[in-house]
């Protein structure tokens, strides 16, 4: 029986520890600070991209506090590590909202992590600012999407290729997951609507973290030798990009022959590469570090001061985080409260300056307006901007997918619906719609 007692004692101890650990956290929730949750992976495969965003958020919060905080209170960052594990994202989101009682959360990178936390934010009625470009096909009342939707990145990019580079043949090369799949579906429909024949579009997928690109690059070369100007539209994800570009450089695929335009390659990714063989390859984003505006210069120098490293680059998701944070600050000031419902009501229509000399406005569909920039890779790891459009409104439900074309989203009252079907006149996905049927 002694061992039973010991086990019992052990379990009792564990219970005591757990309550001991969880209770104080709950006790300090109501303070004279406003807590802001930061939900970015600091370990695991996504740490490579997300750690910078954690630093960016700390930087923005620090700057806001230097300006006197928000509503007369100091902002306090609560950093957690969801460890690149999607169920952990949901767990940590719940912890931030329920235990730490944060006013809003800034976080997530991959679509999977966003999908994982979405039900949590809706259930607990909190607010997430999502700063990364994604595939669209989503609009939640509790998420503000400050990254690009496909029409703010992918479609202008292929437009540029067709117009300026005279491209007639496309390789859509992507990592096999939802963002490339959806984006490529949209692009395929769009290109066909522009008169590109089916046999002039090659779609190819590779696994995550793919590192042996020899066959794929030579396939691109072969596809490009059919006599028509060919370009690659790359939705290759994170880790796989460096080996891909290294192989491109080594196989001598020049931008003047077959340009590659990427949607997930920014300054941060190029920092790990020798870009001299890649000069002229393209990327489409809504921000580049090389933007020549006073606001951007100020941002970069403040960032360098904060991070104590003047070699750290800035990139598009950082600008999206910057816009999201400022929009939240402005909405909270307008609402006079951090209450989720009040902030959601006041945030639509909020305009904040972006870093490319214009304004970003939060639209009723919880996406923002963004200019589209096309940049060419330079030898120093930066991009030269070769085209900039006026601001485009993020289109969450793509017009190029048959089932999403009739959907619109408007979170203003009285509609307050994220997927209103203009054909049936119903707000899809609600019990209301089911009853009407």
């Amino acid at each position: 029986m002694t061992e039973v007692n010991r086990v019992l004692a052990g379990l009792g101890l564990a219970a005591a520890i757990s309550t001991g650990i969880l209770m104080p956290q709950m006790a300090v929730a109501a303070d004279d600070t406003i807590k802001v949750g930061i939900l970015h992976s600091l370990s695991g495969t996504m740490a490579i991209s997300e750690t910078t965003l954690k630093d960016t958020m700390l930087f923005l919060i620090d700057q806001q506090n230097k300006k006197g905080g928000l509503l007369g209170k100091k902002l306090e960052a609560v950093v957690v590590d969801p460890a690149s594990d999607w169920p952990t994202f949901a767990e940590k989101a719940r912890e931030l909202i329920s235990v730490d009682k944060v006013a809003a959360v800034f976080g997530c990178w991959t679509s999977s992590s966003r999908k994982s936390v979405l039900p949590v934010f809706e259930e607990l009625n909190s607010l997430l600012f999502y700063p990364v470009q994604y595939e669209g096909e989503e609009s939640s009342r509790n998420i503000i999407y400050t990254g690009a939707a496909p029409n703010q990145q992918a479609i202008p990019a292929v437009d540029y290729l067709m117009k300026t580079e005279g491209v007639k043949r496309f390789v859509l090369e992507g990592t096999d997951y939802v963002y490339p799949r959806t984006t490529n579906k949209i692009l395929e429909a769009y290109l066909e609507s522009k008169g590109i024949a089916k046999e002039d579009i090659l779609i190819n997928y590779t696994p995550f973290g793919f590192s042996d690109w020899q066959t794929e690059v030579s396939k691109i070369k072969t596809f490009g030798s059919a006599g028509k100007k060919t370009a690659v539209v790359s939705t290759i994800n994170g880790d796989a990009n460096v080996p891909f570009y290294k192989e491109l450089g080594n196989q001598g695929l020049k931008a003047t022959d077959i340009p590659v335009i990427a949607f997930s390659v920014g300054e941060e990714e190029l920092a790990g590469l020798d870009t001299k063989p890649l000069v002229g390859h393209l990327a489409a984003w809504n921000y580049f570090e090389s933007i020549d505006t006073p606001a951007n210069k100020k941002f970069i120098s403040a960032w360098h001061t904060f991070i104590k490293n003047d070699k750290r680059v800035t990139n598009d998701p950082m600008e999206a985080a910057y816009i999201g944070f400022n929009a939240w600050v402005k909405a909270v000031e307008a609402a006079g409260s951090t209450d989720t419902d009040k902030v959601i009501d006041s945030i639509v229509g909020v305009s904040v300056p972006n870093l490319s000399g214009g304004y970003a406005t939060v639209m009723p569909n919880h996406h923002i307006t963004k200019p589209v920039l096309i940049g060419e890779i330079q030898g120093n790891g930066q991009f030269d901007i070769v085209q900039q459009t006026a601001s485009v409104v993020g289109d969450e439900w793509s017009d190029f997918l048959p089932d999403s074309a009739p959907l619109i989203s408007d979170w203003r009252k009285p509609m307050a619906c994220g997927n209103f079907n203009t054909k049936t006149g119903l707000c899809g996905g609600t019990t209301k719609a089911v009853a009407a049927k």
């Binding site: 042996d212 030579s218 006599g227 460096v242 080594n250 931008a255 003047t256 990714e269 790990g272 063989p277």
Partner: protein, 540 residues
């Protein structure tokens, strides 16, 4: 950017105002005006300015185009003068691109780079190639001829003919002839000339020729079409044969990467029986050592930067071997005879090492440069062989041979084999088994570190590097047969080649799944791998 958009309008107005004077203006303009025109307007205007500059036949033109191509020309936002940027990034200087006189009164903040895009870049390379076609430097001539071949502008025909007449080098000459042939197809030359041109191109027999012929097919005269089609078919057939060889090469090069990644594990896991989950992190440490060595060389002896890899190989070996010895002495030696527990401890260790690297170097990728002697590619028959892959294959072979020599020809190797085969007997014979254990683990780790040097050339140098190879490495060792280095060699190359043959048909994802299923089934047939150890050792 608003000024950017307004500029074309301004330029248009400018054009209207001076429309009548334009011809005179163009003639009267000196080289300085032409250079300054580069800084005006958008990309279409820049193209026009480049053409005008080339037409001026000024001796400075080539130099200026090169500077434009390199992004060293800057234009001031107010005055519209174009300068050549020099100095350092922190303290740039601005000089007149023609005279080289440094302008002292330029405010760097008002200067913007004269940007180019791919269209301008293409034009520049074509323009420069016209100018370098008769350069005394063979490489420059070859590059120029290749550019002309790609560009194939009928306007260059006369230029090409003069250059051809003077050319002596066979390779350059054949490239020029091909370029001439392609141009001929675009002109209204006689059918006989065109036929000859097609034959010249078809004789090249590579992918580029296929591209040219496919393009030409559409515009070819009706009676030439069958001939062109026949040539296309012949080249396609030929290329299919080469494709097989190409796949073998890709497979070998993938196999050699797998071999490098796995061979250290073949020692720590295969020979010693330690399930070393931190093996991938040894590879990663090797890659980071490469980075540190490179940065050291960059600051100490920048001239040797191209050879920093040569220093990195021994440095990575020594460093990771030391780490390996430390791990063995600190942790593994307490766990002999409990192989599965080594799995737990080394897994914990791998988490610590990853996070340590993340803390020290940051989570983002580090840049390891490709030395020039490892960049680019060359054609070998119909094979396109990239230099870095070639070197990695060579490196893998050298590492393997040295390892075999160490194990079979040195007394340390003899002792290693003795200890792993029968520890107590070896100990009884007077071998210091703890020392040998440490050395063996150090050797395995050191080799993993050298693999890291090679992988830094083709993959991310990030804290996650090792994770991407650990599973593949275990598969290779198990497939080849634990405890047998030859098995690892054959296993790695087989899996590499099989993967590359599956990839074009099944796709990269499915190909990998099929390989894994194949390994699972293979192990059912041969439960101890390709080269199974026989005898009593099996039961341990």
């Amino acid at each position: 950017m608003p000024s950017f958009r307004l500029l074309p309008i301004a330029l248009l107005l400018f054009g209207i105002c001076f429309g009548f004077a334009a011809p005179a203006f163009a003639q009267a303009s000196n080289i300085a005006d032409l250079v300054n025109a580069l800084g005006v307007g958008g990309f279409p205007e820049r193209e026009a300015a480049i053409k005008a500059l080339v037409d001026s036949h000024d001796p400075h033109v080539n130099e200026i185009l090169q500077e434009l191509n390199d992004g060293r020309l800057f234009v001031s936002s107010d005055g519209g003068r174009v300068y050549l940027q020099g100095g350092t990034a922190d303290a740039p200087t601005y000089a007149d691109p023609i005279t080289g006189a440094v302008a002292a009164d330029v405010d760097p903040d008002t200067m913007g780079k004269v940007k180019i895009n791919n269209a301008v870049r293409t034009l520049l390379s074509s323009a420069m190639s016209q100018l370098t076609l008769r350069s005394p430097d063979r490489a420059a001539r070859l590059a120029a001829a290749r550019d002309l071949l790609k560009d194939a502008d009928p306007a260059n025909l006369a230029l090409l003919d003069t250059a051809l007449a003077a050319e002596t080098d066979a390779t350059v000459k054949s490239t020029m002839e091909a370029a001439r042939a392609v141009i001929m197809l675009k002109t209204s030359a006689s059918d006989a000339d065109k036929k000859a041109a097609i034959d010249t191109i078809a004789a090249r027999g590579n992918k580029d020729a296929l591209t040219i012929l496919t393009t030409a097919l559409a515009s070819a005269p009706a009676d030439l079409k069958p001939a062109v089609q026949a040539d296309i078919d012949a080249i396609t057939r030929n290329l299919q044969v080469w494709d097989v060889a190409q796949n073998v090469w890709y497979g070998l090069s993938l196999g050699s990467v797998l071999l490098l990644a796995a061979i250290g594990l073949a020692i720590t896991f295969g020979v010693m029986g330690v399930i070393n989950m931190a093996h991938g992190e040894m590879v990663m440490l090797g890659a980071y050592t490469t980075y540190v060595v490179q940065e050291t060389v960059r600051s100490v002896a920048p001239g040797l930067l191209d050879y920093s890899l040569a220093f990195a190989v021994p440095a990575a070996f020594l460093f990771t071997a030391l780490v390996g010895v430390a791990i063995e002495r600190g942790i593994i030696r307490w766990l002999y005879g409990r192989p599965l527990e080594t799995l737990l401890a080394t897994w914990g260790l791998s988490l610590i090492l990853q996070q340590a690297i993340r803390t020290v170097f940051g989570p983002t990728n580090r840049q390891v440069i490709n030395p020039t002697w490892m960049s680019g590619s060359f054609d070998f028959g119909g094979l396109a062989i990239t230099q870095n892959r070639l070197w990695i294959v060579v490196f893998a072979i050298v590492v393997f041979v040295i390892l075999q020599l160490v194990l079979n020809r040195t007394s340390l190797g003899l002792q290693m084999r003795a200890v792993t085969q029968n520890r107590r007997m070896a100990s009884a014979m007077g071998i210091r088994t703890p020392f040998v254990d440490a050395m063996t683990f150090g050797l395995g780790s050191g080799i993993a570190g050298m693999a890291g040097v090679a992988l830094s050339q083709i993959d991310n140098v990030s804290p996650n590097l090792g994770q991407n190879y650990i599973i593949d490495s275990f598969m290779v060792v198990v497939f080849g047969g634990v405890g047998n280095l030859w098995g690892t060699l054959v296993g790695a190359l087989t899996l590499g080649v099989a993967n590359k043959f599956l990839e074009p048909y099944a796709g990269a994802v499915l190909g990998k799944i099929l390989i894994l299923v194949f390994i699972i089934l293979f192990i059912q047939r041969r439960p101890r791998g390709l080269f199974a150890l026989k005898g009593r050792a099996v039961e341990q």
